[in-house]
């Protein structure tokens, strides 16, 4: 119960910051000022937006399928929020450390799709229906390259447990039960003979342990943009064609929940990318000789210092990825449907398959 509240609070905080950052970053990239009125530099804008949404009238269209219409936002948010249950925040802090976390996350996110269909159908609106259809088609197709990219990371880590994958990518590896005698080698190749177990930092991140995971990371990142309906993959809510896509009929609190779910999805996919590829809660700074940067910026496991450092690194890396998501939004034009499917099936999926094969071979070199 405590984990539930903590995660919810953390998530709300991150989403508020993200909503503000979205507007400020957009303004910066278009040489505007963005919100300036509310609070210093407009920093209260996002909070006030939420307050405004909560006060608005909750409109249910007369001809909508009322049960489905009301249930859909709850289902969508519940699906996304359930994904956060397996995300480790620090070495000792994880809401639910189940052994098949990665698999669970992939499965529970697919519930989101059902919620989208429910919202699109329940609204009884052409735009909503088309938006939901597009969104679902897109999410279902892009789950394949994303799944393959995740699979290659899982093959290198030999685990489906997010916490175990996290421990492997840093100086704390030998502290994980069952991995007391494992060693990390530079680039994962034992033949090179350079032991990086105690060097830590960026040298033990997954993209460094197995360099082909860098490709997997890029594939996963592109696919995750599509899964969270972000530009340049935002055809489900293309404003110029569909007004707002599947949530066109929603207002007030229900819209706020959908909005929250969408931003939580962005945070969730970025968190997963950070954990699987970018070293999770581990520090990027390596130990260099007697300058033990990694140890200094890791703290002690189980104590406040360890938890704070880990949470700091995890959240700051996540924000870097989120910033890239915003950046991509204002850089690339929207893809057409055929371009979207071309990219997914003819580019990302074959490349991801090759990466999975390479990851399997690489794992043999790591033993």
């Amino acid at each position: 119960m405590l984990a539930f509240l903590l995660t919810l609070m953390l998530l709300l905080g991150v989403v508020i910051v993200l909503a503000y950052a979205e507007r400020k970053v957009a303004a910066f990239m278009q040489d505007r000022l963005g919100p300036t009125e509310a609070g210093p530099y407009g920093s209260l804008q996002a909070v006030l937006d939420v307050l405004k949404l909560l006060q608005k009238e909750d409109i249910v269209p007369a001809l909508a399928d009322k049960g489905l219409f009301k249930l859909a936002p709850i289902l969508i948010f519940a699906a996304v929020f359930a994904g956060f249950a397996v995300i480790p925040i620090s070495p000792t802090l994880v809401p639910a450390g189940i052994g098949i976390g990665v698999f669970y996350l992939l499965a529970i996110i697919s519930l989101d799709v059902i919620g989208l269909l429910m919202a699109g159908w329940g609204s009884n609106n052409k735009y909503a229906m088309l938006g939901a259809m597009r969104s679902v088609a897109q999410i279902v197709s892009y789950e394949i390259p994303a799944g393959l990219a995740i699979l290659s990371a899982v093959m290198v880590s030999q685990s489906l447990d997010f916490q175990e994958i996290s421990y492997q990518q840093g100086v704390l590896m030998n502290a994980f039960p069952g991995m007391g005698y494992e060693t990390n080698w530079l680039f994962g190749i034992q033949a090179l003979g350079i032991d990086t177990t105690n060097i830590g930092g960026i040298t033990t991140w997954n993209i460094f342990r197995a360099p082909m995971l860098l490709v997997a990371f890029v594939i996963y990142f592109i696919a995750s943009l599509a899964e969270s309906n972000r530009a340049p993959f935002d055809i489900p809510e293309a404003e110029s064609e569909l007004v707002a896509g599947f949530h066109v009929e929603y207002s007030g609190f229900r819209f706020a929940v959908l909005f929250l779910a969408e931003y939580s999805m962005m945070v969730l996919v970025s968190l997963v990318a950070v954990i699987l590829f970018l070293g999770s809660w581990n520090t990027p700074l390596p130990n260099i000789g007697s300058v033990a940067l990694a140890n200094w910026t890791t703290g002690t496991i189980g104590e406040i210092s360890g938890n704070l450092w880990a949470a700091f690194w995890l959240i700051s890396k996540t924000f870097v990825l989120l910033f890239v998501q915003l950046w991509a939004r204002w850089t690339y034009p929207r893809l057409r449907v055929d371009q979207l499917m071309y990219l997914c099936w003819k580019v990302l999926t074959p490349v991801a398959l090759v990466v999975v094969l390479l990851a399997g071979v690489w794992r043999l070199l790591m033993i």
């Binding site: 669970y104 992939l106 519930l111 799709v113 269909l117 699109g120 159908w121 229906m129 259809m133």
Partner: protein, 170 residues
């Protein structure tokens, strides 16, 4: 206690799915059924099966069913309705299956089954999940069914691709 909750949910939503005439509602109540069955799997220490159930049935099959229903009815129409046909034969066959199941369960001698007697023990032991054991078993004892299943899926995929291609008129 949790088992009864999930079982009740599964039975109620299953009944609703059968009785409702709106195909779309039937699809959504199938969601509840599948979720509660997944919950029961978790209670049986079969975490992998539970998550696979979510992945395959909720993420794949159910989405496909809903998609099919939504695409096959025009947006302005009333929701797709199903009609009841074959009432006599349906009742007879259901009744026969019920009798058969009851007969089997009553004669199964449930109390003597070896795995039920060890059910109180900690099944997983030191393992955190069943994935490792399932993986090893799949690659050793059950390799033939595993490969046959993949062959079957490949054939289905090829068939689907063949049906979906534009056939040029010769």
């Amino acid at each position: 206690m949790l088992f009864y909750l999930f079982a009740l949910l599964a039975v109620l939503s299953g009944t609703y799915m059968v009785l409702t005439r709106n195909l779309l509602y039937a699809g959504f109540s199938l969601l509840v059924t599948l979720l509660s069955v997944a919950g029961i799997y978790v209670l049986l220490f079969a975490d992998f099966v539970a998550v696979t159930q979510l992945m395959v049935y909720v993420g794949g099959v159910l989405v496909l069913i809903l998609f099919g229903i939504m695409l096959s009815s025009r947006v302005h129409d009333q929701s797709v309705m199903s009609e009841s046909v074959n009432k006599v034969w349906g009742t007879v066959i259901t009744f026969l299956i019920l009798v058969g199941l009851c007969y089997t369960i009553l004669h199964a001698n449930l109390h003597m089954l070896p795995w039920l007697e060890t059910a109180d023990m900690d099944v997983l032991g030191l393992e955190k999940s069943t994935v490792h054991i399932i993986g090893i078993k799949l690659m050793t004892d059950f390799i033939v069914p595993f490969e046959v299943a993949s062959l079957l899926l490949l054939i289905a995929l090829m068939g689907a691709a063949y049906i979906a291609t534009d056939k040029q008129k010769v």
